[in-house]
Symmetry: D2
Amino acid sequence: MGKDKVKIGIIGAGRIGKIHADNLMRNPHAKIVGISDLFAGPELEAWASIRGIPVVTTDSSQLIEMPDVDAVLICSSTDTHVPLIEQAARAGKHIFCEKPVSMNLSQTQAAVTAVQEAGVKLQIGFNRRFDHNFKRVRAHVQEGTIGDPHIIKITSRDPSPPPAEYIRVSGGIFMDMMIHDFDMARYLSGSEVEEVYAQGNVLIQPVFAEHGDVDTAIVTMSFENGAIGVIDNSRQAVYGYDQRVEVFGSLGSATAGNDHPNTAEISTAAGLMRDKPLHFFLERYNEAYVQETALFIEAILNDTPVTVDGHDAVQAERIALAARMSMEQGRPVKLREVPGVTMESTAP
Amino acid sequence: MGKDKVKIGIIGAGRIGKIHADNLMRNPHAKIVGISDLFAGPELEAWASIRGIPVVTTDSSQLIEMPDVDAVLICSSTDTHVPLIEQAARAGKHIFCEKPVSMNLSQTQAAVTAVQEAGVKLQIGFNRRFDHNFKRVRAHVQEGTIGDPHIIKITSRDPSPPPAEYIRVSGGIFMDMMIHDFDMARYLSGSEVEEVYAQGNVLIQPVFAEHGDVDTAIVTMSFENGAIGVIDNSRQAVYGYDQRVEVFGSLGSATAGNDHPNTAEISTAAGLMRDKPLHFFLERYNEAYVQETALFIEAILNDTPVTVDGHDAVQAERIALAARMSMEQGRPVKLREVPGVTMESTAP
Amino acid sequence: MGKDKVKIGIIGAGRIGKIHADNLMRNPHAKIVGISDLFAGPELEAWASIRGIPVVTTDSSQLIEMPDVDAVLICSSTDTHVPLIEQAARAGKHIFCEKPVSMNLSQTQAAVTAVQEAGVKLQIGFNRRFDHNFKRVRAHVQEGTIGDPHIIKITSRDPSPPPAEYIRVSGGIFMDMMIHDFDMARYLSGSEVEEVYAQGNVLIQPVFAEHGDVDTAIVTMSFENGAIGVIDNSRQAVYGYDQRVEVFGSLGSATAGNDHPNTAEISTAAGLMRDKPLHFFLERYNEAYVQETALFIEAILNDTPVTVDGHDAVQAERIALAARMSMEQGRPVKLREVPGVTMESTAP
Amino acid sequence: MGKDKVKIGIIGAGRIGKIHADNLMRNPHAKIVGISDLFAGPELEAWASIRGIPVVTTDSSQLIEMPDVDAVLICSSTDTHVPLIEQAARAGKHIFCEKPVSMNLSQTQAAVTAVQEAGVKLQIGFNRRFDHNFKRVRAHVQEGTIGDPHIIKITSRDPSPPPAEYIRVSGGIFMDMMIHDFDMARYLSGSEVEEVYAQGNVLIQPVFAEHGDVDTAIVTMSFENGAIGVIDNSRQAVYGYDQRVEVFGSLGSATAGNDHPNTAEISTAAGLMRDKPLHFFLERYNEAYVQETALFIEAILNDTPVTVDGHDAVQAERIALAARMSMEQGRPVKLREVPGVTMESTAP
């Protein structure tokens, strides 16, 4: 870019928007020039003032159009992602967008096309790709330590269900929660998913049923490279955030377990005990959040491809939609059955 | 029985027959009075002589009909199980039979009926129920430590594939290998399986494809109690026998990992290392084999129900057949679709 | 203090001085107003300029006397600690000083007295007290989970020896390296050390012998509360930084193991492997460094006692000197034999 | 020996005598021809009858002198060991003797000399050398995986103290309990101990003090090869039998942890839990007991050296006596200071 700092506008000042802001504050190559939020007010202004962020606005368009802005981070609600991406692309701004891009594959594809036509960068917030554990497993797979992948297993369980109002608009467990795991399945296997079969049940809270959703689900997958895989999700693991993966192959297996707050172990007459895993995504993926925006900034400065692009968004959404169809229709569903776009098969 | 020793005849002097014999030699309540094998000869006679087993014969009928025999262990090839069970039942002998009873559900059911009519005991060789790790997980489930089961996960991988001649007559991965895991799923969940969906692929050796079989498979299950589950099998885990389970529930999760030959860990400049898991079933399930026949003897002496009965054989075979149908037809299959018998739902 | 920011001068711009500076940059309650170093020059000026630190000087006195400075961090070489502490105390500045305060107990005591007379705060850089693992073990001890402590065990091994020029002035393994463990022994046991017996040998590099030092050492301790303990040190653990503790007591045991860069485990035909522990103190104690200065700032703002004070410095040095006497004289040495000061027994 | 079975007489029908008997019953190369015990009576006769052991006597001499006896296992109380060894040696019988041979080094040495003169085999019951974990660590040391040993660490804690009447005659913690660890130190290091320093305290039960004994002890050692080491013992680890070792060397470290009854782990809202280690020596060293007598039989049949010989008994006792002197005199003690015998330095 011919400069050494990327000027950033942040759209959406919710929890994740603020985390990205704080992480970028420490990045010598980023400068946050503004933040927008529908509910911006004195509180956000105080927050921004302490951090030396000059512009606070309720109008995301204003931020996008600021000549001083090189890139935007879209951290607002999912329904705003597509129009914001399109506007930012037209304005020639690089884009970091939280997942999912949308609930509708045609719209997601349209947004990705707009980005490609504008020649700007689009990175998707699949933060788990930057986790120290999963990166190490992927490295082993790529280095051939475990040979050809045969079985991919992903466990992903939240410590407690989200509030009812969130469940209502979440898009369902596949699009809201398991979408991270669909991306992880592609990332770990180095292959595209061909077919899925989804099973789910409401075992935790009836509210999920009220919205046609489930709180417990297992999805099996077949991959283009012949591997098969399985993901299990639960909205409530009372022992904390459970995030584990395994790639089993012709020469061995690579697993990654949970992170714990400490290594202390207590032995008493009752048995051996240690503390539960790190509670939730903010603790577990803290370092991954720092890295994903740092690499976004780096990709802009060096004009190199982003690590997770629009195609990755499209593919993960397509798998989520196929899983939903599978559960509703009680049958395995091929990805090519999902209406909306032509699939280009590009391994992650 | 009004006595303190059960007199045993062993049918089939292959590897597993000999293991059961050696284990029973140490059991003060059992006495082996004879062993039969189609290929009995000087070698088997020498083997029996060292152990003080008086009768060695090629004729299993002779053994079954010996007045001195209280019970038989059927360790011969699968195709002989049903006629041998029926003959032994008619002769009023208690029966321990290796899994599966047969490849054909009607025949298995007929054998079970013959046993019930004769009023003798029939125990099936699902040895893993007697493993120290899985028993402990089951105990936690039954004591309510983890609440209501939501997700059952079973990993079961062999260190290396069987020879081609075995594959040909094995009955396929579901009936030969995963049948143990189907029984484990019922054992751990305390519930019956309602529906399965099976995926498989040939990733290790083309010989499996030649016999319409697969070497790598994932089966998902839904249970009557609402839980869902998944089993993954591979015919070749180069790092050794991989036998792990997890039951995840409303109050927590119980897992069991592999057994290792020692706890030694080496730290060098290359990283941390420990030895592979115990190599195969003879090492891993050694103690379980001792226990299963000991409990069979105990059930006979005390006239109490056996731990794994004919119903358990029928159910596991039914799941295996449903899994095969599912893979062949590419769709989920309900257990009630499997032809042959009426299902009685009795939780294990 | 009637304000919300502590203004800091940093004395010594070596590795640890710069780390403290970077950690304090992120602390909203601290402001670095200057940094001094004997070798300050254009490089340090550039480093300071990026961080917005206005004053860079070769003269530590200038920094100490700046009216704008509330507190100093003494990160210069050990021989400068005592005069700098005394000067800063006279100037009414709060002091954070790296360990050890000096190699001479009378001088250390004199510095502590100067601090007490001046009524300023003095915190010693025993960073390991702020480690997540050791804090958790200590919490269990204090909560009574393991009952009365009986045995304290500390393993502390560096990944590789320091350069020869460092060894020459280090003060020896007890004063330079094991002093951290002596402090940890007091911290974990909640008791004072009464007597030590030290054994050591040169097994890694002859250069240690040239300076009358050892590279491998074991020290046993008896505590006032009756517990006994042992520390082992090595200057070279080729598998990385090895930092583990155990407190064994009447009701059980609490251990803390190493931190690893990830949880990935690889199973292959060669065995099971995982990556080595975090390489060295900067990685392992990163979080502890952030916390120790944050708590120093907090203690100043709230006018509360510091977490590790001058008495802790004196006691750890006294144990180190006793250990040296023990090794030189080949006999157990009581702490009261160490010349220089009267011991006040105050459990940490 | 020109035969394929060793005929065994067992002296002492306490717990360990009976365990050895049961293990030998399963050994095809051993035949138990008699058992003696001071308190032999109907109960022991019944026990022997079930096992087909023809001779039961209160007179150990009778057993030793039986022409039919090839070897004796001395499992009686420590004060009888030396005269029994001498008598058996004179009678030309091979000897397996429980540890320690005696509390008096001259007597032990005299017994060893009698054995050497008679040309019979003497194996000492240091069963831990046959433990799967410690064997693996030793193998790594011998294969050079961890380079030259620098630090040897042994933790050995019993689940609960012995009864008061046992404590009175036990010979003290060093001769009764830590003697196993002294042997282990020689076994793991491949070197002889030169000097020890012992610390101990009574922290569990006052009864130990009444007999001039301690219940908690730490002993440091220096070895002839330059390594240093430490052993810690406690008579009461409420979480079970704690038996761990570490050998740290120039190329890495080898550790062995405890054995557990199963691998089940439970995760709940309270944390992660697993069952305590195997309770005590009968559980933990079950397999080691089987192996040690099997190898004794093998050494007799093949006329090869035994695995643990008289020299090993002498050396371990000498270290125990030195440790006692060290604790009593409050100073490090060299092994050559222990009166009674000339030391021959032969690495184990």
